[in-house]
Symmetry: C2
Subunit: 528 residues, 2 copies
Amino acid sequence: MDIEEFRKAGYAAIDRICDYYYSLSSLPVKPSVAPGYLSKHIPPALPQTSEPFNEILDDYTKLILPGLTHWQHPSFFGFFPTACTFQGIIADLLTSSTSNPGFNWAVSPACTELEVLMMDWAAGLLGLHKDFFNSSKKGGGTIQTTASDSALTAVVAARSLYARTHPEVPHESLVIYATTQTHSLGLKAGKILGLSVRSIEVDANDGYALRGKALRAALDEDLKNGLHPFILIATVGTTSSGAVDNLPEIKEPKITPPSGSTSTLPGRVLLSPVLNIEKNYTTQRSTKLPHRSAPTFTRQWGLVNFDCSTLWVRDRTLLTEALDITPPFLRSKEGDSGLVIDYRNWHLSLGRRFRSLKLWFVFRSYGAEGFRDYIRRCIDLNTTFQAKLTETTLLELVTTPSLSLSVFRISPNALPPPASSTTSSSPINSSTTSPTNSSPSNEPTLETMNELTKSLYSRLSARSDILLTQTVLNGVFCIRFAVGSERTRVEDINKAVGVMVEEAEVVIREWSKNVDLDSTLTVNGRMG
Amino acid sequence: MDIEEFRKAGYAAIDRICDYYYSLSSLPVKPSVAPGYLSKHIPPALPQTSEPFNEILDDYTKLILPGLTHWQHPSFFGFFPTACTFQGIIADLLTSSTSNPGFNWAVSPACTELEVLMMDWAAGLLGLHKDFFNSSKKGGGTIQTTASDSALTAVVAARSLYARTHPEVPHESLVIYATTQTHSLGLKAGKILGLSVRSIEVDANDGYALRGKALRAALDEDLKNGLHPFILIATVGTTSSGAVDNLPEIKEPKITPPSGSTSTLPGRVLLSPVLNIEKNYTTQRSTKLPHRSAPTFTRQWGLVNFDCSTLWVRDRTLLTEALDITPPFLRSKEGDSGLVIDYRNWHLSLGRRFRSLKLWFVFRSYGAEGFRDYIRRCIDLNTTFQAKLTETTLLELVTTPSLSLSVFRISPNALPPPASSTTSSSPINSSTTSPTNSSPSNEPTLETMNELTKSLYSRLSARSDILLTQTVLNGVFCIRFAVGSERTRVEDINKAVGVMVEEAEVVIREWSKNVDLDSTLTVNGRMG
């Protein structure tokens, strides 16, 4: 393909992307393909000789697009926000066109320099303490591939620090602290590093947030048993329900091992998807932190296309001391002089994409105001959803909505009074507000409610006009509703609630029939 | 930015990429910017409101391009091949446009299905044993971000297997085996995982390849000391010099711990940048491997834009047993049924880019023949380089060139006979062929030769019309010459050798002057 053929093919690809976005809201959110669909259309081996490029582009439209789940669809409410913007797409295009694995300053100065600046722009937008800015020359920020990479890097840095300061402690005694609500990246970091993870139980009454008391109890128990918790993964906005760990209560847990002197938990990492929320935490901590403070990072909830996860640390040597390997072929005079950042020592890999270009394009094209507007709009749309949901008598929130995420289930109040049989199968108490409380005898059991909500989820999952995901909160089966697409508007929220109500009505009707049948067939009513 | 604005901006970006490629060969290979250049042009905080997109694009051309090192430049001979193709750029563009973190089959079936198929296409092209194909349903292939990620994943899988089968062995006794020539990803994996790495010494006479005897000696010593080597990182084509470890000799090292029964080294991983070379290894091994064989992978030396590193394993459960974490919100009926691959359990992160699209576009547009032609052309260009180099009397190869990589230094033969002073500073023996042998008294010392080659490297690094990187082979300072850009042609090789000769002449002339000066000033000649 020569340069003019590329120009033609490039324009054609841009046109196809335009077609895609014009059609997006009329597409099913998720495809109806069956496992193995693509192998019916693609041969088992590559062709020996070149195929025409326009045929390849046609096959993209014909074979790939119908097999995609459309994360940018206005009715995509699953998982977490991954808003993709045209500005980000164009930045990614330019990045690909000069493909280089910019691991050192010297191998592409612009890549490092723009990342240094953009991470300071982002830190400013988030209101981080000045220690986290690259301009502090002490802390700083870097872009990682995913939030999992950011968290793993932070855990590696904390373990490395702990191993340097406690060389006598065996690996098997080290423990990563998280909660039952922490994203699976916590458990995965443990599997990768061969380390234990303690998932501290949290309470529905605390909104599934980690409290100081629970952390204290875990620490006391583990320290008594000779274990060494060395990092706490705290979260602002859990993936499961948006829970916000109680940062003031957990920020400075004192550690007093049976034999040793009191110190603070050496490592802390904060997962946060959101703007400004972190501010309080970091500024509160700033004066009290031990000299070698922990990495902290936020997950991406922005307008920047996957992949782009931002990680900040208060002390950059935590990363470089854990990760710096400099063989002769990677040496450069700029790196040796310490004048520049060589980002390869700030992450686990060697090579890295030029991702700061996306941040630059999006930040400049939206401006701080545009960026904040998007975040506010997601939260506002979730508020609209909550209002609509509580208007229905069929569905209820399981916990307080947080940011752009709501978690709901079928409301026990939605179940009809028991059929007019002589045996009561389960009268409904209309004042159910705390789903995890043990049910009074006249309420449907938790098992019943879980079965009903699972049926609802199953029906919703079978539809192609909405996408939602599930979770389980302390035994309660729930459906998650996350707003994140840049294209979602109020009418999409209304439509979503309409679909939920429609399916919930079917589920409740079916269930009522079965209960009636049960009460006809048996002396003792059965449910669930 | 609405869809029509995007079309306009997209076309403009494509045009800029065309301009870039038209100008590429006339640009300096590397920029002349000083550390901190970009902060002089970019403010310390993002703008409050939106800026026009054409200004942003203009700034890309004005501020970013002049700060890039051009890895696709025909005179880029540094590091390793990263050929970027127009087909790959367009695939990347389409990938960005439907941005989704396709971690499960269900969250974008096309992403998983195409990766499954493309890894089989690639396995076929490389001539891998059928066990490594996804179609085997037992082994399979997956795309990782970088070679470092592939290697780290393989080491994690091997350590996890070893820990499951040897739960009594403390973490501190585990050892990763590599050689002094293994890419720094080996040492970095050790740092990340908190594991020891033994870098086995290799010999210049073996072309810096690992031999069976050296591996045996290391194993005997470590086992006697109660250590547990659990994986060997072997390499076909080291980054430093292109060395190929002696695979037949090292493929089945028996382990006989003092107390236990004989077994084989449980984990092996093969780093290989090249087509077909691996074939012999994998087919030889296929019948003799223990049931739970090791992951193997190849590094990318292809036409597919960064990032794309291919990893194959003979037994996919090695990855899933080490990495599978399935919280409720990531469950899907297709994943639960085992009908599909959920690639999140084959790598360290959760989210992943849709990278198989690049492989599909490049494979179809080049065909197997076109792909092989590119590899052959790189090797042929390196052969041309060797011929030109040996024609000069100033430079010499340090070890046998391998694939598309040559390693050279200033030839001791190039040094003029000592000045006609009464004391001989160091007569030159013209038959120097083995640079690491101890020098006869009439040859320049290794220190002298290293100083001279360092001077040459320093002069070449100061030029903007060529890019080379350095290495050290058992104490010998060398310059690396790696062919990889798709745009490099014979005339670029000729030009490169011309530049090297020009600079080497200066270095030798300067050195000779100093030697003359020395012999004038001192009674006993001094050198280096």
